[in-house]
């Protein structure tokens, strides 16, 4: 292993719903609102498309934090998808906490297509939180380490 002086940058995976949060990210870009390049956005048709295994898999492949963004409750493009997300993620995050995994590494945020500023602010804040926690050691998979 080589020793470098590079500053530690966390790797953040953001699952964004196509109809609200992804458009919110676009708006943040159009408005020239800066958020860290460490955030890798994955577009999903609805926040409830996110299987809990996706989140675990992201951690396995080296993510330091995972954030799920969807439409505000009540605004789902498919009427009820984000209500299911809310239940599933509440249970999953509680379970991760139960297994001793830092709960700051996972988050669910509701960001609408009009909230570019909220999107940028959320990502800035989440990156700062995860960067303070450091590398994800508790859910790492040594087989996937580069």
């Amino acid at each position: 292993m080589s020793v470098t002086n590079e500053e530690y940058r966390p790797l953040i995976v953001a699952f964004c719903c196509n109809w609200c949060s992804y458009a919110g990210a676009d708006l943040a870009g159009n408005n020239r609102l800066a958020y860290p390049a460490d955030v890798k956005i994955i577009r999903v048709p609805c926040s409830c498309r996110v299987n809990p295994a996706f989140i675990l898999r992201a951690f396995q492949r080296g993510a330091d934090g995972v954030i799920i963004c969807g439409c505000h409750p009540g605004d789902c493009h498919y009427t009820s998808g984000n209500y299911y997300t809310r239940r599933r993620m509440a249970l999953l995050f509680s379970m991760l906490d139960y297994l001793g995994i830092e709960k700051e590494r996972t988050r669910v945020e509701w960001v609408s297509a009009a909230e570019g500023a909220k999107f940028a602010a959320t990502m800035n804040d989440f990156c700062k939180t995860v960067a303070a926690l450091g590398e994800n050691k508790r859910l790492e998979d040594l087989r996937c380490k580069k």
Binding site: P52, A53, L56, R57, F59, Q60, P73, G74, S80, Y83, Y84, R86, R87, R88, M89, A90, L91, L92, F93, S94, M95, L96, D97, Y98, L99, G100, I101, E102, K103, T106, R107, V108, R138, L139, E140, D141, L142, R143
Partner: protein, 326 residues
């Protein structure tokens, strides 16, 4: 220990076979050792000679009905303990068993001993007998040893959730009550620990996992014909040589897949060859669902909708959910 005897059950089975109500019987037969009793199908009166019933008949046979009720033929007689009836109800709800083809006889249960607890205490067991609350074990090298039965009871029986049969066609003995048990005590104890302590605890427990998949195979809620854990591309299909991640992912996914459908029968912990308290993961989900979305017992009523496939507009936010217990 058990109030019903083998003879009562065999006579009942013979009677129902003779009058044509059923044409096969699911029960238990002797396994390799005195303490390991295995579920088995009996097709005739003669085969019933091998039927056994005793304090080690903990196996929940309701899962076997998934495959059996799809086969041609008449009804299947099955003997169900109170906790097994919840599983049967849940499987009926999910349309995994054909309830019409099952003749369920409810039997009382005084708690079933586990072979793994016995093996922890003694080696080379020749025979086991229970008299009242004492278990007498004859061993090859150490002579006869006795234990109080409570020492060999698994957590699921020490904290029994219900003595009530939720579904049956006939009942042997008297029906009991739903009990107010301390089944979430262990979960609460873990929740009170710091995250570091919890991580160390689960790391210690889960790193023993050998990925035999017994917990999945025995679980009455795990009845998918294609399982995610059998997918060779999942990266999860077998044990990783490197530690830490793989077993955690397996156990989180396993528990999550049955969340809302798990009746807390405790079979996962019973069959685990490594003695991992797997039911503590399932109970965490049950406890969370009870606190977040209201009391729910899977399998209590046929047709109930589990909390994970339901929602209300006022549900708790995930960020609030993890703050509980602080």
């Amino acid at each position: 220990m058990q109030k019903v005897t083998r003879d009562i059950l065999v006579n009942k089975a013979k009677e129902l076979l003779a009058n044509g109500t059923v044409d096969r019987v699911y029960g238990w037969k002797k396994g390799e050792f005195a303490y390991d009793v295995t579920p088995a199908l009996f097709k005739s009166e003669k085969e019933l000679d091998e039927f056994v019933f005793g304090d080690f008949c903990g196996a929940n046979v309701s899962k076997y009905l998934v495959a059996e009720s799809k086969k041609a033929g008449g009804k299947i007689l099955v003997f169900l303990k109170p906790c097994d009836t919840y599983s049967l109800n849940q499987l009926t709800t999910e349309h995994r068993v054909d309830r019409e083809k099952i003749y369920a006889v409810g039997i009382p249960c005084e708690g079933m001993l586990t072979g793994s607890a016995l093996k922890d205490k003694v080696d080379s067991v020749l025979s086991v007998e229970t008299e009242g609350d004492t278990v007498k074990v004859e061993t090859l090298y150490d002579g006869v040893k006795t234990f109080p039965a409570s020492d060999l009871l698994p957590d699921r029986c020490r904290n029994c959730k219900s003595k009530k049969h939720v579904t049956y066609d006939e009942l042997i003995g008297e029906d009991g009550e739903v009990l107010d048990s301390g089944r979430f005590d262990e979960v609460e104890k873990l929740e009170k620990m710091t995250p570091d302590e919890r991580f160390a605890f689960w790391q210690g427990e889960l790193s023993r996992c050998i990925r035999c998949n017994a917990c999945r195979d025995v679980c009455p809620a795990c009845t998918c014909e294609k399982c995610v854990f059998d997918n060779p591309k999942s990266g999860l299909e077998n044990k990783a040589a490197a530690d830490s991640f793989e077993e955690k992912m397996f156990h989180i996914i396993r528990a999550f897949h049955v969340a809302g459908r798990c009746t807390d029968c405790g079979e996962c912990s019973r069959v685990c060859p490594q003695h991992i308290p797997l039911h503590l993961l399932n109970r965490k989900f049950i406890k969370d669902m009870n606190t977040f979305y209201g009391e729910y017992q899977a399998g209590e009523v046929v047709g109930n909708r589990p909390p994970v496939v339901n929602y209300t507009k006022e549900d708790i936010e995930p960020s609030e959910a993890v703050k509980r217990g602080e």
